[in-house]
């Protein structure tokens, strides 16, 4: 009896959340799903006739022509996935040691650092990426400095390459990796590290057997938070990437804004979403297994 009343109350409390998610998340998702099975309209929009070759095109068979196989979209999808994975790996390598360092700072310096790491959120992403453009271009800051100290004899071609895209994404994603990592590192039980050393484990063993497993939730959290927006990112490759830096997000953007093929853009979005969901589910089940009953 009491249980039922509780669940009714809970339901009422959750109504605004449900409504919000329904209107701003589920509904658009359904629209995209439906659009992905329609034909494109002449000037954008959709024709209300069923068409399933949008997906065929992504997997390499354009417009139902089985004879020609050109998996260019799959290649771009894989490139996006590998860029995103690389971004996750690099931000992790960068942030993990820094998180330990920051957790050891005095209260005051820790606050200063936390302010610095959240500072980028206060300015426009586009502006910050254009700053990188100025740094990376052939006559930019990086090349000028390297040339003048004689480290290189010719300007490095970084801008409009995959390197520039990954660099830009790492730059954008660092705070998202840092915050969950820091929280995990800060919650580490120092006594357990000492217990491990006390029981004869050296520093490496202690790291592998105690520190790493205990910060794993933070690592997983950071990885997911960085991976998802990285896969679909189009702003960074737009500004810093050339043709070889094109990512799946750029394709979606193009389909909606310039190519006026909404159904194809929708199909691409659905694929991204499917990939991201798969990654999420795998990492969630992994986390459940690793976390056990803890």
């Amino acid at each position: 009896m009491a249980m039922r009343r509780q669940s009714v109350v809970l339901g009422m409390l959750l109504t605004p959340v449900t409504l919000f998610l329904g209107v701003f998340f589920l509904l658009p998702l359904c629209i995209i799903a439906v659009f992905s099975f329609l034909s494109p309209g002449l000037y954008g929009g959709v024709e209300w006739s069923f068409y399933h070759w949008n997906y065929g095109r992504i997997f390499g068979w354009a417009d139902g022509i089985i004879e020609i196989y050109e998996p260019i979209y799959l290649q771009i999808l894989f490139r996006s996935l590998s860029f995103a994975a690389l971004t996750v790996g690099l931000t992790l390598i960068l942030c993990y040691p820094v998180a330990f360092w920051v957790s050891r700072l005095s209260e005051r310096w820790r606050l200063v650092f936390m302010f610095l790491i959240t500072l980028p959120f206060f300015s426009s992403l586009i502006v910050r990426l254009y700053a990188w453009l100025l740094i990376l271009k052939p006559s930019g800051l990086l090349n000028t400095v390297l040339l003048s100290i004689g480290a290189i004899s010719e300007p490095l071609e970084i801008l409009y390459t995959p390197t520039a895209v990954v660099l830009g994404m790492v730059y954008v994603m660092v705070p998202f990796m840092f915050l969950p990592l820091y929280s995990a590192v800060d919650n580490l039980d120092r006594a357990q590290i000492e217990a491990s050393l006390d029981l004869g484990a050296n520093r490496l063993q202690t790291f592998l057997k105690v520190v790493l497993p205990q910060t794993l939730p933070g690592i997983m959290g950071g990885a997911v938070i960085v991976f998802i927006p990285s896969v679909g990112n189009f702003v960074v490759p737009d500004v810093l990437g050339g043709a070889k830096g094109l990512m799946i997000g750029n394709l979606v953007e193009q389909q909606f804004l310039s190519s006026r093929n909404w159904p194809f853009g929708s199909a691409l979005s659905m694929i991204i979403m499917a990939v991201v969901l798969t990654v999420l589910l795998i990492s969630a089940s992994r986390a459940r297994k690793a976390g056990g009953h803890a």
């Binding site: 006594a191 357990q192 000492e194 491990s196 006390d198 050296n202 057997k209 803890a294």
Partner: protein, 355 residues
């Protein structure tokens, strides 16, 4: 006789947040025998944890030496010291099973799985947790966690086990049970224990020797009996057990006993050895050292507290001065307001030279 652990002139100073210097260890000298149960006893902040951490290697000394079995300890990192610790918070690994926690020292030492499992089972058996190996620490009670921490710390057969207030989180009954079990375990293992507590009762029941500490230095080292009956100074006397302190002036010496008086005029009889008339000393008497009878210091009961079989009395001497605390074993018929006389055996009086 050589000792297992020898600490000489150990010093450690911390810089306080206010910029001052705090001598957490202020010239510590301590020897511990190969299977001795030594207790560090002292108020919070006196340096007990710091001393333990210096022995286990988590705190460095500013100066002084430390040897274990004749070998220098100070240069070794914690994981190379044949010393293990039972942490106050237990510090169990939450992401591992009980069995893996207990076997951790063997696992990192590269002991094979079969031998490890056998030793883990044996260690769990020893602390009364047989069959609990598959659980997680979070699925255990406080007392059981304590036992896991204990099993984990003895499995690698350290020569010295350090225990930092291991019983402080347990309730009274469990604590008393664990006190006995720890003592039994220490005998069975034949290794040295250094046990930290701020509970004097615990120290008295468990220790071979007690080290009384105060603000970074050692006030007295001795057997529980020595510490209790012959405290070296006021601090030790007051810290260990209930105490009555009487600052007195020797009036006259009369064969075996001396007569002394407090400023208010309360009369005491002390052992006369070494006493001279006019000398000012402090006489110490434990509550149980008084007998309620027809003679002795006259006074009035101001409060009577029943402690099971004993009756705890606060007696205001007629002459004045602070109340005297008395334990009466027979217990009958002393209500508040009753007039009593407190007699004592002069031989039971402990005398501190300083007044």
């Amino acid at each position: 006789m050589t000792h297992l652990l020898e600490i000489r002139n150990a010093r450690r100073t911390f810089i306080t947040p206010e910029g001052g210097h705090l001598a957490a260890l202020d010239g510590i000298n301590l020897d511990v025998g190969a299977n001795e149960f030594v207790t560090l006893l002292g108020p919070s902040g006196c340096g007990k944890t710091t001393l333990l951490r210096a022995i286990s290697g988590f705190e460095t000394l500013d100066s002084g030496t430390m040897t274990l079995g004749g070998a220098d300890l100070t240069a070794l990192p914690p994981f190379r010291r044949p010393v293990n610790t039972v942490f106050q918070s237990y510090a169990l690994f939450g992401h591992m099973t009980v069995a893996r926690n207990v076997g951790y020292a063997l696992e990192v030492a590269g002991v094979g799985k079969a031998s490890r499992e056998a030793q883990v089972a044996e260690a769990l058996e020893k602390v009364g947790l047989a069959g609990m190996g598959a659980r997680r620490p979070s699925q255990l009670s406080g007392g059981q966690r304590q036992r896991v921490a204990l099993a984990r710390s003895i499995i690698a057969k350290p020569r010295l086990l350090l225990l930092d207030e291991p019983l402080s989180a347990l309730d009274r009954n469990l604590r008393q049970q664990m006190q006995l079990e720890l003592k039994t375990l220490q005998h069975a293992l034949g290794i040295a224990f250094i046990f930290v507590t701020h509970d004097q009762e615990e120290a008295l029941t468990m220790s071979d020797r007690i080290v009384v500490m105060r603000s970074g230095h050692i006030e007295q080292i001795g057997t529980p009996r020595e510490i209790y009956r012959h405290p070296k100074n006021r601090f030790v006397a007051e810290f260990i057990g209930e105490t009555n302190l009487f600052p007195v002036t020797i009036d006259r010496v009369d064969g075996e006993t001396a007569l002394a008086r407090t400023a208010e005029g309360v009369e005491m009889h002390l052992p006369s050895a070494g006493r001279k008339p006019g000398e000012q000393v402090t006489a110490i008497l434990r509550p149980a050292d008084f007998n309620l009878g027809p003679t002795g210091i006259p006074g009035t009961v101001t409060r009577a507290v029943y402690l099971g079989s004993d009756l705890y009395l606060f007696v205001q001497p007629q002459a004045g001065g602070p109340e005297i605390r008395v334990i009466s074993r027979d217990g009958a018929g002393f209500d508040e307001g009753a007039a009593v006389h407190l007699a004592h055996d002069p031989a039971r009086v402990h005398v501190l030279e300083a007044a």
